[in-house]
Structures are given as structure tokens and as C-alpha cells.
């Protein structure tokens, strides 16, 4: 079974600043992947970044990067140079062979 904890229901950041969203998880699978999804007010869920659990190198996609600590089962998302368009709900989701399990989400507000 998989469980996911996003301990920050809400976060805010100033435009152009950096923010980190936390996620911890538990899984019984040995081979799995981790995903961060973004859901803006338009409500279309969009993939932000993904990480293969067996890779030690942290994934990066432009302004988005992760800090993956496998032993601690931690998978945080760092957003650099925050933009107004980054305002959204962010969901962490570890996934194995069949399904992804989602955290409860963190609502990110970006202040101009």
C-alpha cells in the first residue's frame, strides 16, 4: 500500500522568489516513480516533473526541480523564480506498476 503526506495545505511566495513544497510517502514497492502534478484554477491536471526512484540524480525541468531523498522517502518540489502562472494546487504522487496515489495537495499562492 502507498501513502502520501503533503504537510503544507497552503503556501505563498513572492513573485521571482523560490519556494519548496514538501512531500513524504510510504510504499511497499521496490521499483517506483514519483510525480508532481499542478492543477491551476482551470482545473486541468498537468504533469510538472517526474523522478525515477532508482536514479540518485534529482530531476529538473526548467524552473522546477526536486529534492529526492529515497531513504527518508521524501520528494520535495522546488520552484525557482516563481511566476504568477505558478499559482495552483500541487499534488505529489508516487506510483508503481499499476496506479498512482495522490497527496491531499498544497495550494500555492504567488504574490505580485
Amino acid at each position: 500500500a502507498q501513502t502520501v503526506t503533503q504537510s503544507q495545505p497552503e503556501m505563498s511566495v513572492q513573485e521571482a522568489e523560490t519556494v519548496t513544497l514538501s512531500c513524504t510517502y510510504d510504499t511497499s514497492e521496490s521499483d517506483y516513480y514519483l510525480f508532481w502534478y499542478k492543477q491551476p484554477p482551470s482545473r486541468q491536471m498537468i504533469l510538472v516533473i517526474r523522478q525515477e526512484a532508482y536514479k540518485q540524480q534529482n530531476a529538473t525541468e526548467n524552473r522546477f526541480s526536486v529534492n529526492f531523498q529515497k531513504a527518508a522517502k521524501s520528494f520535495s518540489l522546488k520552484i525557482s523564480d516563481s511566476q504568477l502562472g505558478d499559482a495552483a494546487m500541487y499534488f505529489c504522487a508516487p506510483g508503481g506498476s499499476e496506479k498512482l496515489v495522490f497527496g491531499k495537495g498544497t495550494k500555492l499562492t504567488v504574490n505580485p
Binding site: V4, Q6, P9, R43, M45, L47, F91, A93, K99, G105
Partner: protein
Amino acid sequence: DVKVTQSSRYLVKRTGEKVFLECVQDMDHENMFWYRQDPGLGLRLIYFSYDVKMKEKGDIPEGYSVSREKKERFSLILESASTNQTSMYLCATRGAGRYSPLHFGNGTRLTVT
């Protein structure tokens, strides 16, 4: 790009009605999912299917059923809608392979009165 289309964006139904939520994908993905999204609870998996006519229960299947007669279409059925099923419903697909992400539709906001 993967396109996942949910037939209705907003739906209002009465208690006791039978409700069908339709989802169609155009990418030949084997795996399809129905999630329910509620504030403070995140996304919870209702049912998923990894092949035509195959279905698996997710974490909250009670009060729901599904149908997958064709690979591209996955329907969620509320046999007798109740007010506690008022929610946002998200359909998603996933290709083969552990690294494959989910691709979501736009969601259907269902209100049961």
C-alpha cells in the same frame, strides 16, 4: 498530445438518479482511471481498468461501477446518486510502463440535489 475528453464539464442530478460519466481517450492507452477530488482530501481512486472489459476497485468503489466495452472509452456509473457523491470527477489515462504519467481530462463537477 494525449487527449482525454470528459463528456460533461458540469452536471446536476437528483438523488436516486442513475448517472453516467463518460471518458474518451485518443492515445490507445491500456490503462484508464476514475478519481474523485474533494477539498482537503486530494484525489481518491474509485476504479481503474487496464484492458477492455477489465476493471479493478480503487480505494473508494462503494456506490460506483464502471464499464469499459471499448479501449478508448471508460464510463463511471452511479447506480443511485446520493448527495455525498457531489464532487469533482477526474478521468485519466496512462500508457504502459512504470515511467508513464497520468494524462487527465478536464473533470466533471457533479452536483446531486
